[in-house]
Amino acid sequence: MSTTDAHLIFERSRAGRSAVAQAPRDHAATRIPANLQRKSAPGLPAASELDVVRHYTRLSQKNFSIDTEFYPLGSCTMKYNPRACNSLAMLPGFLNRHPHAPASHSQGFLHTMFELQEMLKEVTGMKAVSLAPMAGAQGEFTGVAMIRAYHDARGDTERREIIVPDAAHGTNPATAIMCGYEVREIPTDASGDVNIEALKEAVGPQTAGIMLTNPSTVGVFERRISEIAKIVHDAGGLLYYDGANLNAILGKVRPGDMGFDVIHMNLHKTFSTPHGGGGPGSGAVGVGERLLPHLPVPHVIEDGAEGYRFATEADYPETIGRLAAFAGNAGVLLRAYVYMRMLGREGMQRVSEFATLNANYLARELERAGFDLAYPERRATHEFIVTLKKQAKSTGLTAGDVAKRLLDHGYHAPTTYFPLLVPECLLVEPTETESKETLDGFVAAMAAILEEAGRDIDTIKAAPHHLPNRRFNEVAAAKALNVVFEAPAEADTLARTGTSG
């Protein structure tokens, strides 16, 4: 790689250059009062259209992505994102619809959203769905805020604790705090299930609810879920389902039937909307009977001859309120709708079947290649955990080392060091859209790393070797802290333009 690759778009700028085709014609100067006017130009790039297109196209080529590499990032469900979902969500009629367009001009969109709500209700076994939350973490917030609204509405205000298993995603405890609750952690037992005795001790009149992921974050199905539901309900608490792992059970078992009162789904995982380099997600929520009055607005309802419209605070006086200025990540919701319609009823359970087949196959093949599974006696769900505890001791090979060396082999790394309770862990989620050949290639790469660790650990410790950069010094980066390009705007435009190519 030549050093010009690291040039920022600002360093490619030249005073007087611009993408002229994009600018509207000149208008008369405004009459904005002088004291409210901007005095100096902001310092955005000054580049031609080709400069910009080439710069960002080349940047894109420095990314690993599902479209270019196997991406078994556990807990993130990095499955193929069908292209039709994107192109159909970007039809002009959808793109140009203003969020406040009248219902008379929105029936195509509203009808689609209503059907999406209905399909999500069906596949989760819940009574109603709101599409408002803009990501999983906001879906979690919504769920716990509804639990709080439920207790408050009953005058049951002494419930101050949310129970969270120690294996939970970090968003769970962070969410409970945002909703004004205290967090009570309970341990996971040796087989990966919730420790029932600890749960029994933890519940009481202070319990507002429990946040659970099932299958859990350690990649196994919580077998005693009905018993857990009874314990929590008997104590007066409610059950919140974190839908991070819904891909594992789609069409097989429904959170509503397991006893959950409220759930969120990550449409960007289970329903294959793009991860986009870190969003946009969509954290639709589903509720049972008890939480129905507290559902966030807006969501789509049928209104007789008028067709479909958004429900507002007037329809739901006990709603927890609004989560976004408008109606959530509509474009993401359209993509999820197209995906669900293409899979159809029979396709839903194929998702979980082949996600599970791939995970179990990959788990056993890695075990044969010499890796240890964290829960070898259990069925893998859609994902599983490999622990490098033994190798870390014997050869010094850590989970982080495996992750970096896998990049050299052309595979994105699994999730590392999560969940926190398994030492030196890799959380591996192959998803249903990968072929046997891809999985076999991944096993071969893992076996090669294990073999290499026995004879040349130093090469692995220095990996990656074949990427645009070697390992970074993150500690130094956090200390020096450079998060914006500091050169003044005038100097940018004088900076030598790098020759690309």
Partner: protein, 450 residues
């Protein structure tokens, strides 16, 4: 099977290696009484051709009316290159850049974004985005409470002339944190938030203050006076701004004497289509001294083992996946793809393009007002406005707006929904996308709707 590559032979071979008879066996840990009933409520699968036909019909139903609604989401031209590049698979189907070496494209782009949005707002640092403008304001309020530890009241002043749905979202998201939100009245003549409105709090403990520029009515606030009042009392200021307006308006980093503490806003006008309200992105910029209190992902420059520069996620110790219950926010995924589009959009427009867009928006909205004034329709407020204006349609506004919509013109947002005293007023916006004949069409449909 759509999107599943397995052949019968693959399935057999894989089950053999697992030691299972059937795929069904792999679900034997799920109790039988919990198994899902058949999903009869979901239609049978459609192929791509079939779903394309259906979606085209649905999209066409929502028509192509000429849109003059703004109210927080604005119609702008988006260069073709923006979404063509943003939806390249390498951006579209990557995730949060946890493996920095394999994510330099996304990381460098976010660093460039942080630089652009910091410069536009006149601030020192930025995060990688939040969900939308409204939720970004809620996060800013929580952040301001963390920043201003001296204040005990947890009382935050926010203008009544702030977007009503922003106020609602803030209430939803911070409702359980013991924060008191106080709404400041606006001047019914000018539409501005007068400094006088702050008088009752002159000697009170105030934790933070919000200023919206322009405010919800499109009116320009006297930001120096409002910021100055807060500065005298050591109260952190949160600015809520429209990023396109900042090509012309004084950036919040220069308001008052020393500028504000936190800036947030809706990023949609920078390259995101209207798309029924999302996905958009919320931006947040601040001062270096507050960065550890800022929520969300942050990208920083770093050096690799060879001393070669690159980019990493930094200051992760603030975040939920490390700090769990002590995190600055529960936010995890943000709006990466829309930020990708916005960064390309800002690069294509540059200072000159963005300025011309802002001037065209200003000119078109003012031209519309002139045309309507000739017909006797006046702005409701006397204050200077940027690209949005409250028009007094009179008592029959709701009917007239619907009749205009049926004739192909979405006239604006009816202010009576949130402000009883503004019943009959319509908030209208004419961006650079509107031509002279679009403006004429607005006027003629208004007349015909009488």
């Amino acid at each position: 099977m759509p999107f599943i590559p397995h052949t019968e032979e693959d399935i057999r071979a894989m089950l053999d290696r697992i030691g299972a008879e059937s795929v069904e066996d792999l679900f034997d840990e799920i109790p039988a009484d919990l198994r899902s009933p058949p999903l009869t409520g979901i239609p049978e699968g459609e192929n791509e051709m079939g779903i394309t036909r259906l979606m085209q019909e649905r999209a066409a139903k929502d028509g192509m009316a000429s849109n003059f609604i703004g109210a927080g989401a604005y119609e702008h031209h988006i260069p073709a290159a923006v979404w063509q590049i943003a939806t390249r698979g390498e951006f579209y189907s990557a995730y949060t850049p946890y493996q920095a070496e394999a994510s330099q494209g996304t990381l460098q782009l976010i660093y460039e974004y942080q630089t652009m949005i910091s410069r536009l707002t006149g601030m020192e640092v930025s995060n990688a985005s939040l969900y939308d403008g409204a939720s970004a304001l809620a996060e800013a309020v929580l952040m301001a409470v963390r920043v201003n530890r001296r204040s005990k009241s947890k009382r935050v002043l926010l203008p009544g002339a702030l977007h009503p749905d922003y106020r609602k979202v803030v209430r939803t998201l911070i409702g359980n944190q013991g924060i008191e939100l106080v709404e400041l009245p606006f001047d019914e003549t000018t539409g501005q938030t007068p400094v006088d409105a702050l008088a009752p709090y002159a000697d009170e403990d105030v934790t933070a203050m919000v200023i919206s520029q322009p405010n919800f009515f499109g009116i320009l606030e006297d930001v120096d006076a409002l910021t100055g009042w807060a500065e005298e009392r050591g109260i952190p200021v949160i600015a809520v701004v429209n990023p396109v307006s900042l090509a012309l308006l004084k950036p919040p980093g220069e308001w008052g004497t020393n500028g504000v503490d936190i800036v947030v806003g809706e990023g949609q006008p920078l390259g995101a289509p209207l798309s029924s309200g999302g996905p958009y992105f919320g931006f947040m910029t601040t001062l270096k001294k507050h960065i550890r209190q800022m929520p969300g992902r942050i990208v920083g420059r770093a050096e690799d083992a060879d001393g070669k520069p690159g980019f990493v996620l930094t200051l992760q110790a603030r975040e939920q996946h490390i700090r769990r219950s002590k995190a600055t926010s529960n936010i995890c995924t943000n709006q990466g793809l829309v930020v990708t589009a916005a960064t390309i959009h800002m690069s294509l427009l540059g200072d000159e393009g963005l300025t011309r867009v802002a001037e065209a928006c200003y000119a078109n909205t003012h031209a519309l007002v002139e045309k309507l004034a000739a017909k006797g329709i006046k702005p409701r407020f006397t204050g200077e406005y940027f690209h949005e204006v409250a028009l007094d349609f009179g008592g029959d506004a709701a009917n007239r707006v619907q009749t205009m919509a049926d004739a192909g013109v979405l006239a604006g947002f009816e202010l009576g929904r949130d402000y009883a005293q503004l019943d009959g007023c319509v908030l209208a916006c004419a961006t650079e996308t509107k031509t002279e004949s679009d403006l004429e069409q607005y006027v003629t449909t208004w007349e015909q709707a009488a």
